[in-house]
């Protein structure tokens, strides 16, 4: 029998430290936003040589004013042959009014040609293999919708758990979820991982996953509440967690295996998802055991 409840103060302190550290990182360092959030155009460039990001910047920086502050990141896929490097170049061109500009089809092909030529002049063979764009409007919209999705999901869950369990359980679950989301986002910020739409999907999946874990514990508490009368609430909660711990460990481990392998071997655009899920599985499991139930002990009605 592991004592989850007795040591709850220690874990609450640990969680608080993690949450505060995450918030500090989010607000000071910020996020490495994907092109969907920034708005602008993403050019995927393939160069038939091993060149560095600064080489690419040097070659393209004079092509157009927006290239001077372009965000250049090297992208790697497992199947890439040697002697080839791929880059994602994100630019946010502005029009005369300072608004975000969308390239026309013609401008795109002219720009692609210019880039290829610039590389040719430096004795490299390059190819533009992707040109994606998102207007500032779409980026703004995705941002708004993402926040709405998270807030409304939490509200709906609070209502559902209150109806099925007790209000305090709902509060416990939502606190645990906010805890998980903040820490996961903190990891994105801290490790400078790209926050794109897939990453948002990961954060939302994590809500479902962590909740699943929490509900299983709550369900056992509810069942034991009906049965046992003599024991204290602390013992009861601790017993309940211990009764489901094997299931929690097995489920978390199997999910973790799949997600972690995805993180190790998957392609670039799904990596931010796998990263979020890997962190989320660990944090979500931890919070179900140490946070969701222990913090609400005082208020549980027998």
């Amino acid at each position: 029998m592991i004592d989850f409840v007795g040591k709850r103060k220690i874990f609450i302190v640990i969680s608080l430290i993690l949450v505060v550290a995450s918030l500090i990182s989010i607000f000071t360092k910020g996020f490495n936003f994907g092109v969907e959030f920034l708005g602008g155009s993403e050019i995927i460039l393939k160069v038939n040589a091993e060149v560095s990001e600064s080489d690419v910047r040097q070659i393209i920086k004079n092509l157009a004013p927006e290239f001077e502050n372009a965000r250049i990141t090297q992208i790697k896929s497992v199947d890439d042959p040697k002697g080839i490097s791929k880059f994602s170049i994100v630019v946010s061109p502005k029009d005369e009014n300072g608004e975000l500009k969308v390239y026309t089809g013609e401008e795109k092909s002219v720009l692609s040609q210019k880039i290829v030529e610039a590389f040719k002049n430096n004795n490299y063979t390059a190819e533009v293999i992707g040109f994606n764009e998102t207007s500032g409007y779409a980026a703004q919209e995705i941002k708004n919708l993402t926040w709405k999705a998270i807030v409304f999901t939490l509200l709906a869950l609070l209502i559902y758990i209150t109806l099925r369990f007790q209000f305090v359980f709902g509060v416990g679950a939502v606190v645990a979820l906010i805890h998980d989301v903040i820490i996961t986002l903190g990891f994105y910020s801290f490790f400078n991982y790209e926050l794109n739409v897939a990453a948002v999907a990961a954060v939302l999946t994590l809500i479902g996953y962590s909740l699943n874990d929490t509900i299983v514990v709550y369900d056992r508490i509810r069942e034991n509440l009906r049965r046992s009368r003599g024991s204290t609430i602390e013992t009861l909660v601790n017993n309940s967690i211990n009764q489901v711990i094997k299931r929690t460990i097995n489920t978390s481990l199997t999910t973790f295996i799949v997600i972690f392998i995805l993180l190790l071997f998957s392609g670039n655009s799904i990596k931010p998802f796998a990263f979020g899920m890997t962190i989320g599985t660990i944090v979500g499991t931890y919070s179900s055991l140490y946070i969701a139930s222990p913090i609400v002990i005082r208020w549980i009605k027998k």
């Binding site: 089809g105 779409a138 999907a201 939302l204 479902g208 049965r227």
Partner: protein, 477 residues
Amino acid sequence: MKDNKVRGIITLIVIALAFLSLLWPTSEGYKGLASLFSRIKLGLDISGGARIEYKVDIDKSVENPSQVAEDVWTVLRNRLDMANYTEAVVKQTFREENTFIIVEIPGATDTARAEQLIGSTGLLWFGQVIDSTTSDPNIDPNLINEAKREKAEWLLDREGKTWYLVKKEIANISNLKLVSPKIVEAIPQVDRNNVAGYVVTFKLDKQYADVFKRITEKLYVPEDLINQGGVAYQQALKKRLAIVLDDRVQFAGFVTAKITDGSALIKGNFTLDEAKQLAAILKSGALPARLEKVSSGWVAPLLGADIVSASLKAGIIGIILVLIYMIIFYGVMGIVADIALLYNTFLLLGILAATGSILTLPGIAGIILTIGTTVDGNIIIYERIKEEIRRGSSVKAAISTAFSKSFITLFDANLTTIIAGLFLYYFGTGTVKGFAITLIIGVLGSLFVNLVVSRFFLELFSGAIKVKGASKGGARA
């Protein structure tokens, strides 16, 4: 036992249906293992292609905005079909009281042509050419004055080279004009007089044929006059007919015969593609609303393919490890869990194929997550079974009790995930929606698989299930 027979039959029927929908013959020529997936529509992020998103600008005074959006969809669908983009997907989405149209063209590498086709509002009118010039008339005060005097406007031609002064009212007769006529037929044809080029022949709806006849009467110029030159020719130059589409002069030339049946042809030295596109726009008519481009781009298939193969490999490795893990920990019950897991994966793929849902990259991630929920459901049940056996129940009784006790847990845990999925679907955009769909289908599937399929196999194998520590008895309250 009778119940279990029913479970067995349902189990068989459902998986048979899933495989049927997966293996139903298609035109796509996949072979081997990949043929299992050939019926599933792949999202653009996987197959590669062009993607253009428009906001439909509907006038606030319109009574039935959803009908307008529906009309826009139909017009675009027609245009794309007629320009041979039959594989294109046109989707309508609604976000924050705005309607959006998303056009996805798998395999296309250039959005320019599609954008031209879609973005064109399709407003067509016939006019009279009064003058033409090759220099920009907007900087020449004489030409600006001429336009004012004639109540006409300077419009560029299709190639952007020549400017024509065009007026809508033919021969200054009020109401003799032809704006947005209905066109019943428009066909690109080889130009018989010019081997290299194409022309577009079209036929106006009957109700416009009469107006067209009167216009051609007024503008009629005998052929010999055109070849004559001189003053008469200068006069004739002011009687040319212009066909204007989207403020561009598509055709400007002489009418050498009175046209009574409403059929005519547009000559402009078109290429086959241009002729097809013009015919598509003529026939599909004008867009009932303005489209504002929100984003456009193309996803290189090269980029998609490597990601897919890498992710697929990773997914398969992950699944195999989970399969092994479950057998090590739960023995015979682990085998049942493995069956359940594979069952649910194929069920999910079958549903995707049957409903024509589009599988996106986050969708693949959703499938992987489904593995988690299926395994989780089984583990919850197995731990209960073990508990019951430790308490002293027989294996059969333990299975029965475990299922009735686990039901509430599974129900609550999965329903909360579905609630999250529904909100994700409702508020999410494109790829996130694809993820939400697979998540919801997957969770519902795992609930079914856990309660029906797993139970069937558990009862079938109940004789082989052994639980360590059963002799210790009810150690827990």
